[in-house]
Amino acid sequence: MNMNRRQILILLPAAAIAWKSVLAGTPQESPNYKMTDHWWGMLIDIPKCIGCGNCVRACQTENDVPDGNFRTWVERYHVSDWEMKNPQDIMINPLTAPEVISPDGGKEGFPVTTNESGKYFFVPKMCNHCADSPCTQVCPVGATFVAPDGVVLVDQKYCLGCAYCVQACPYGCRYIHSEKKVADKCTLCYHRITKGLTTACCEACPTGARQLIDLKNPKDPIHEFLKTHSVQVLKPQMATGAKVLYNDLDGSVR
């Protein structure tokens, strides 16, 4: 960067002040954030995902996720030509149709494949921050909850570690933290979104397949997107009110 001294002297303190205000305190203290003004969700654009695994690594770095547990992960589906030509003959055999792999959650990407037949697509998954969440219903002590701004959070000081919520989640996104021995899961980077930043996974995604959305914000681009695209949620039959919307989700995704 070739800047003269005057520009540096102005820019550095300005950037430092901007950054410190971003870091300032909790949402109750931060004057800019009102919980009732937001209803957070996420948009995942399936055709854009290339399975690079940046989001999985970024989430682990940002949130200190232990190895072997995943707050978000990527699955690769392979629907074979035979399945597509014989929809009436498909035995719903979870072992073969379609082929799904998620090597270490997609953290180091996926193995190269040269088999051009059939269709492939990547499905990033995470906590769906359900509006009618099954995991918050089953907690015996009230340690997990839907916050007023739509994010499902875990109070790790209150959690007993009974793992009832881990079993209850239909999307398999919760786990017991191997060191803290309490329930843990994606917090939608609550500590970032309350300060005006986006989530770590969205920040790291190189193709823009993941986008944080605020359904209560009239200026959010999601409203325009919803007018022109059709979106789906995972496991709609569970009626969880999931707020992670998928564009172009294939019917074979489980």
Partner: protein, 77 residues
């Protein structure tokens, strides 16, 4: 993931579903069985202590103790 055929969600690897699927009906059976046996006492208006062999009251706790031990040790690992 090793030893998994087909696909299982990455976080559910810690849950040992194969143990839980067997354990829950077992516990349900214990509870239902205890209810049935307790109701049989009423049906046949049994004179409790006289009709049973000696030590029966203590031995009745053995299956309950086993069930509790299995449930506790097969919890989240």
């Amino acid at each position: 993931m090793n030893g998994v055929e087909g696909f299982m969600y990455p976080n559910e690897y810690g849950l040992q579903w194969s143990v839980l699927i067997v354990l829950y009906p077992f516990i349900t059976g214990l509870v239902a069985g205890a209810f049935i046996l307790a109701s049989l006492v009423r049906i046949f208006r049994s004179n409790h202590r006289a009709n049973l062999p000696p030590g029966a009251a203590h031995r009745a706790f053995v299956p309950v103790g086993c069930a509790v031990a299995v449930a506790v040790t097969s919890g989240p690992s």
